[in-house]
Symmetry: C2
């Protein structure tokens, strides 16, 4: 554990590592590689330089070793072949002066070449901690939970929403018809599928225009504007133009495919945006599904919180995806938890959701600050969309009041029919 | 294998998949999920809609099954527990009309939610094929190999370069001194470390100014401008401003940390850039190191080629990284190979390189179209930097002439000393 003057400001990251070198050594290698270290000593690496720029290992937690490498390393095979792989968690502190307010620099530091180090047979970024003063130099969410609630006109309960289906292929007119039915049914939020941006047969502009006409008609009737997360992902100029078009048309949200738009462009949209940013995490599986590589969701949501999105997808419990329910819950908790003084993100549950998930989510989160999106659970409700939306609201009423669903369903035909159709009750 | 009218234009992607559902079924699930499919049938999914928007399975190659899931899926455990995991490669064709010229849409389609599908216990994107007409609508590299050679003044052999070390921590004055020594030694290319962008003690502007003064002095002497890939990564406005500052100062290259700047912003810089873009792939390990997840390098370089970078890092053979040499070579071949009419990328070799790698690279690639970066191999040469650079050039002369290094080293003190110091000869 090298010591540097306490005057310098630092941020830190925690990593899971596996190696047949001792974890202490691997910690030093990572700290060196990700700051001023070099594989041969060069004249310029003075004590003064190290003090201002060299990262340091703050703590190490040893975990039980394993006898098989989790990931292949040709380097380990060449240099240190053995059947004993140490495992541990290493926390490393980095000088803030190295990077400044720069998300690519932050990620290059905590998630750069270190994934490729020959010495490690597993490496995952588990946590990121920033001092509040440093965190406050990033944009952060503009609307967050309260700002989104104000625009939706929905308070004290989850925002009930859906996704326009089929995902892609509808003409603008068909899209508008679908939206009309959703709004007639009382939907509070709906979004484009992540695949849908600007197909030749349903251009962004035509879709925006067709849908916004419908929305204004319903807003007049409802006294609130249903929130439409329209997918503006694309080139930087396109996204800015589309954002402005949405705002001018009276829309209240834009959606971005975070991983493939990328950090610098999402931050740029945030800088110009006057609307909440609905963050879609498609591709996230590639970053996290191997437990020996990539990122924890906690780090992921922290970085996107710095960049300034407002909503973030977390899958659904009992969904069609690979993710265990406890991981989904943990992701939502992560979005809602305080982080370096930056306001929380609104977690978005979707995939295979219906009224029955309300008590599960409420019991786990003790919060109604979330979006609960149901596709089939709303559109596939046997009594129609309005009853589908109503069944979701009733599910949440039951959850908050700690009344079992089947009991609360008595005398409530919407919830009752949902339990029968989707729950086999 | 569903059939759709041959009139529609398509692009295709090939995936490695593992599942305890039959591969044919998994192929259909992916094709559905990544286009107009829904988990319940909805009224809008007409035959006409499918024709314009639904993806289709083009071919399936069966691979030997395994008895353990490569990645955990809570969904598989719930729905189809078994100890038989089919494996195969699935090629899926997608309608171009769904996405248009939009990199986030392209990646959301081939690398989106599919990584999280409950039905798969492994999924990796192996290949991407676009028709030339479609590929030509993307920007592509502006300078490529020939444009870079013209700016460097280096032809008919690899561009010999290095990385300024220590990676981070030098003041602008110390950086300029280091660069002065490199240029005096005849270096043709050098770059910032990926970690270095705008530290408080060595701001981008101060660094640019200090280094460019040195470069102009040497350019007058050499009759060529050494190429400096200065790291401009950051916010979109910052990157544009920095690019302009580099160009105005007479610089000839900018560097971007591709994964963390992200696709939309890199493409935006390309749109405005008048300089070659040096693509650093730090973080790439997280996308590729699990063979059961993420991306092949081939797909990665194709997407960045569409976005319009000019150079791309591929690690080095016999390096400090995990990657087997054959994977490094394959990556370089991938950069050099033709792809849908878009010009090739200049592959950049680095990490633990010195003269001895020249014959290995030349024998494998049969090409001198590459950047060969050596840190210690140049700066650590016992006779100094000039001899370090000379030893690299001599290594390549030997390689191209098919003369063994130790033989070519006779009467050539630079190469001779390199073999002695780094090769133990």
């Amino acid at each position: 554990m090298s010591g540097y003057p306490s005057g310098r400001e630092e941020f830190s990251a925690r990593f899971f590592v596996e190696s047949n070198f001792p974890i202490e050594k691997v910690g030093e290698i990572i700290a060196g590689e990700q700051s001023s270290g070099t594989f041969i000593s060069v004249p310029g690496e003075s004590a003064e330089l190290k003090e201002r720029s060299r990262a340091r290992v703050v703590s190490i937690k040893t975990l039980p070793a394993v006898d098989t490498a989790s990931l292949h390393s040709a380097y380990l095979t060449r240099h240190n072949p053995s059947n004993h792989f140490h495992r541990g968690e290493v926390t490393i502190a980095f000088p803030i002066a190295n990077i400044g307010t720069n998300i690519p620099a932050l990620l290059t530091t905590i998630a750069g070449n270190l994934f490729e180090l020959g010495e490690v047979s597993a490496l995952r970024v588990l946590d990121l901690e920033l001092p509040e003063r440093f965190a406050s130099t990033f944009l952060g969410p503009q609307f967050g939970i309260e700002g989104t609630r104000a625009l939706c006109g929905v308070h004290d309960r989850p925002i009930i929403g859906t996704i326009i289906k089929p995902s892609i292929g509808l003409t603008p007119e068909q899209t508008a018809e679908t939206v009309d039915a959703l709004c007639a049914g009382g939907i509070e939020f709906f979004k484009d599928d992540e695949l849908l941006i600007d197909p030749t047969y349903a251009s962004f502009d035509a879709r925006l225009s067709a849908v916004m006409q419908v929305l204004h008609r319903h807003a007049d009737r409802l006294g609130r504007m249903p929130m439409y997360a329209i997918n503006i992902s694309g080139g930087v100029d396109e996204m800015l133009r589309r954002h402005d078009a949405v705002r001018e048309a009276g829309g209240t949200c834009v959606m971005l495919c975070l991983n493939w738009v990328g950090h610098s462009a999402v931050e740029h949209i945030r800088k110009h945006s006057q609307l909440p940013i609905h963050g879609h995490r498609n591709g996230w599986g590639a970053f996290t599904r191997s437990p020996n590589l990539g990122f924890s969701f906690d780090v992921y949501q922290k970085v996107w919180r710095l960049a300034g999105i407002d909503h973030l997808h977390v899958n659904g419990v009992q969904s069609k995806f690979w993710e265990p329910d406890e991981s989904v819950i943990s992701s939502a908790q992560s979005c809602l938890r305080s982080f370096a003084g930056i306001q929380p993100l609104l977690p978005v549950f979707s995939s295979g959701q219906w009224a029955a998930q309300a008590p599960i989510l409420y019991n786990a989160l003790k919060s109604v600050d979330l979006m609960h999106l149901a596709g089939g659970g709303i559109i596939g409700h046997p009594q129609g969309i309005e009853a589908g939306v109503q069944s979701m609201r009733e599910g949440w009423e039951a959850a908050v009041q700690h009344v079992p669903l089947h009991e609360y369903a008595e005398g409530r035909p919407a919830l009752s029919a949902a339990l029968k159709k989707f729950g086999g009750a």
